[in-house]
């Protein structure tokens, strides 16, 4: 109490803003930290995958032979094409960034549609591969880790796809994304790059090594 510099009458509610409404239009009150937040969140996402990868490597290190005896050979052609498509899609979505910095929403839409198509092809390829594999979820430890890891990654691709489609949906409204305010576009892009990088590691672990 002593020395407090607040005038009690001023502490009364003369200074208010509805945060519910304010946050609905982005954060006028302070600089936009949402991209930073997404990156911090992706650190946590990366740790889930890292945990699963290390678990996989441990199973592999402990097992006498890997993949275990009797695991059918894996076809490399389809997953290889899939990998190229996914990596290429990262470059495609990256083209959206200079476009929005020019304020060219049309170009952003073009690159996002293309990325979404490539992502959808990747998922379709994954499903085709699942149906053609000669082992199931419970065949052996390798098969289980294969399905869980690729499935978990596939879920993330789905989520990235939803993000991209959501951005496309919102971009129909003129002025929703501008040169200076385009968090959704950046977030979708960062997320897509993340999903891509995870796949590269996954592909090396499950197919190549």
């Amino acid at each position: 109490m002593t020395g407090s510099t607040i005038d009690p009458s001023k502490a009364a509610l003369n200074y208010h803003v509805s945060e519910v409404e304010a946050s609905g239009h982005g954060h006028e009150a302070h600089p936009d930290h949402r991209v930073f937040g997404v990156i911090v969140f992706l650190v946590a996402e990366a740790m889930i995958f890292l945990g699963l990868f290390v678990a996989y490597l441990t199973f592999r290190a402990v097992a006498p032979t890997w993949p275990p005896e009797g695991t059918p050979e894996r076809e490399l052609l389809l997953p290889g094409i899939n990998t190229i498509i996914l990596i290429a899609s990262s470059f495609v979505i990256h083209k959206a960034e200079p476009a929005i910095k020019q304020g060219d929403v049309k170009a952003v839409q073009k690159w996002f549609v293309l990325t979404a198509l490539m992502g959808a092809i990747f998922l379709a390829g994954q499903i085709v591969e699942y149906f053609n594999l000669e082992f199931g979820l419970k065949t052996n430890l390798y098969a289980s880790t294969f399905y869980v890891l690729t499935g978990f990654h596939g879920l993330h691709v789905c989520f990235g796809l939803i993000l991209i489609l959501a951005v496309l949906w919102r971009s129909r409204q003129a002025g929703h994304y501008s040169q200076t305010s385009h968090f959704g576009i950046e977030a979708a892009e960062v997320y897509w790059h993340f999903v891509d990088v995870v796949w590269i590691v996954l592909f090396l672990l499950l197919y190549i090594l």
């Binding site: 109490m1 002593t2 020395g3 407090s4 510099t5 607040i6 009690p8 001023k10 502490a11 509610l13 003369n14 200074y15 208010h16 803003v17 509805s18 945060e19 519910v20 409404e21 304010a22 946050s23 009150a29 302070h30 600089p31 930290h33 949402r34 930073f36 937040g37 911090v40 969140f41 650190v43 946590a44 996402e45 990366a46 740790m47 889930i48 995958f49 890292l50 945990g51 699963l52 678990a55 441990t58 199973f59 402990v62 097992a63 275990p68 979820l137 419970k138 052996n140 430890l141 289980s144 880790t145 869980v148 978990f152």
Partner: protein
């Protein structure tokens, strides 16, 4: 410590939109105000603390006699499993980070709110459903594999209860991660102008370290739980040796989270103690940078010691050596903190009120838990006491004598700020004395029980342990009773307590320089720093900021 200079004040921004006043209804709504969310966390988690305490009382009642006479063995397994899960995931973790982190960080940093207010509310509202879900598991048979849920036991017992436990933990873990994203962004990006990292109150440093741990370790537990749920539901064999899997992999993934979890539970409390001791000793904190950086050191070391929980799980000797030494090294940054706290109160003008009593109780009890921690870090000793009551005693000295005492200290200290009213001192002291005595009667004998070889997690035991077990049970009842003075005191004081004024403790950190409770966006006008946060007793310094945009304050050095 560095000296802060006054920063240039800027005119208050205009906010055209009107806002509803905070009423009791606000606390049941999807509010985005960090102070409302902080109190929501605190009250919700305290309710779960009472539930967890009731479960503990049931466990101890069963253990009052060597025979199985109060509940069946199966129910007993469920009781201690849910007790631990509730206390860790629904009380200490969300109370330390969620409640105090949310309430204090923006105030201490001079921010209007957290970086992502909506995300903050989402993170909170994941907790009640997850907690209720866990309680509902008793209907179908509670999870009974211990809070560690080691396979293969967890794969073969109570699959429904086990799946509910996994689902509940995944929700709580997600909530915790979203909270950490918010804390990290707020601390790194939302500090007021002129408030560098090295000028932050120490609680903010502690939250920085704890949030980093949450972010890095919680996801790995999520990964383990996902694999475990496949084993339970789909019949895969990740952790099932009969199908070629490896249960030890689960243990590694589990402890990669659950050891850092100990620091997630204690670091925010360390931060709170670093705030409380200087205020009630009227002395500057001793070793600001030492305390701040030791939090980061604990955070880093906490990530690389997990396998000390697995000395008896077939861990090869060379690996045990590494984990033993790394674990003992953690005693160094922790010891730095304890010595700094002691040096802070040394020669101070101590006010032994409830907050200070609990803070001092924290320091003394935590030291006991820390010393038994160094003991169990030693491989030969750990092999002897593994899975005995010595471990139970150790964990409770750290988490109850440490975290819970610290949380109580925090509640007594910041209650006037949160509610605008003082708590009753007399009943606060009654609460402290009962808690302190009950706690020690309950857990001190467990050291001896463990050294004599009494196993944990069993409902039935050798009659030679009966006498000490009865003592423990009596202590538990004292502990149970000790919560009543607190509950009535808190409710009564919130309702009718004497008005606290803005700064009843004459503290210097930013949260005390605004009204009690603070207005919706925390500060009227822009806060201005004029002093470092711990400049107590220097030139009769007065509270350290001015909220008057036109005022020209002088540095208090």
């Amino acid at each position: 410590m560095t000296t802060q200079t006054p920063t240039q004040s800027t005119p208050a921004r205009s906010h055209p939109e009107p806002h509803q006043e905070t009423t009791w209804r606000t606390y049941f709504s999807f509010s985005t105000d960090h102070k409302v969310i902080g109190i929501q966390y605190l009250v919700t988690t305290f309710v779960f603390y009472l539930i967890g305490g009731a479960l503990a009382t049931a466990v101890r009642t069963e253990l009052a006699t060597p025979e199985v006479d109060f509940v069946s063995r199966e129910v007993y397994n469920g009781l201690f499993t849910v007790h631990a899960t509730v206390m860790i995931f629904l009380w200490i973790v969300p109370a330390g980070t969620g409640a105090f982190g949310n309430y204090l960080l923006p105030l201490m940093l001079g921010a209007r709110d957290m970086a992502f207010p909506k995300l903050n509310a989402v993170a909170f509202w994941m907790i009640p459903p997850a907690g209720v879900l866990l309680m509902l598991s008793f209907i179908w048979g509670a999870p009974a594999a211990g809070w560690t849920s080691y396979p293969p036991l967890s794969i073969v017992t109570n699959p429904v209860g086990e799946m509910i436990w996994i689902l509940s933990l995944l929700i709580l873990g997600t909530s915790s991660i979203l909270g950490a994203v918010n804390f990290l962004t707020t601390i790194l990006k939302m500090r007021m102008p002129g408030l560098g990292l090295n000028q932050m109150p120490l609680f903010c440093w502690a939250m920085l370290a704890a949030s980093a741990l949450i972010l890095l370790s919680t996801p790995v537990l999520a990964g383990a739980l996902i694999l475990l749920s496949f084993d339970i539901v789909a019949g895969t064999a990740f952790f099932n040796p009969t199908g070629g899997g490896d249960p030890v992999v689960y243990q590694h993934m589990f402890w990669f989270y659950s050891h850092p979890a100990v620091y997630i539970m204690i670091l925010p409390v360390f931060g709170m103690i670093s705030e409380i001791l200087p205020v009630h000793s009227r002395k500057p904190i001793f070793g600001y940078k030492a305390i701040a950086y030791s939090s980061l050191a604990i955070s880093f070391l906490g990530l690389v010691v997990w396998a000390h929980h697995m000395f008896t799980s077939g861990t090869p000797p060379w690996l045990r050596m590494f984990f033993m030494i790394a674990t003992m090294v953690i005693a160094v940054p922790t010891g730095i903190k304890v010595f700094s706290w002691l040096a802070t109160i040394w020669g101070g003008k101590l006010e032994l009120n409830s907050a200070m009593l609990f803070a001092l109780g924290f320091v003394s009890m935590f030291v006991i838990g820390g010393i038994s921690g160094v003991m169990v870090a030693a491989v030969p000793f750990d092999i002897h006491v593994h899975d005995t009551y010595f471990i139970v005693a150790h964990i409770h000295y750290v988490l109850f004598g440490g975290s819970v005492f610290g949380l109580y200290a925090g509640i007594y200290h910041w209650f006037p700020k949160m509610t605008g009213r003082m708590m009753n001192e007399f009943w606060g002291r009654v609460h402290f004395v009962l808690t302190f005595i009950g706690f020690n009667i309950t857990f001190m004998p467990m050291h001896k029980l463990g050294l004599e070889g009494m196993n944990r997690r069993i409902a039935e035991y050798d009659p030679k342990y009966a006498a000490l077990n009865l003592v423990c049970t009596v202590g538990t009842y004292i502990l149970a009773v000790s919560t009543f003075p607190f509950i009535f005191n808190a409710i009564w004081s919130w309702w009718k307590g004497p008005k606290a004024g803005d700064n009843p403790w004459r503290a210097l950190t930013l949260e005390w320089q605004t009204s009690s409770p603070p207005p919706v966006e925390n500060f009227v006008g822009e806060p201005v720093l004029v002093t470092e946060p711990y400049a107590y007793g220097l030139n009769g310094s007065t509270p350290g900021i001015s909220l008057e945009p036109e005022a020209t304050p002088s540095p208090a050095t």
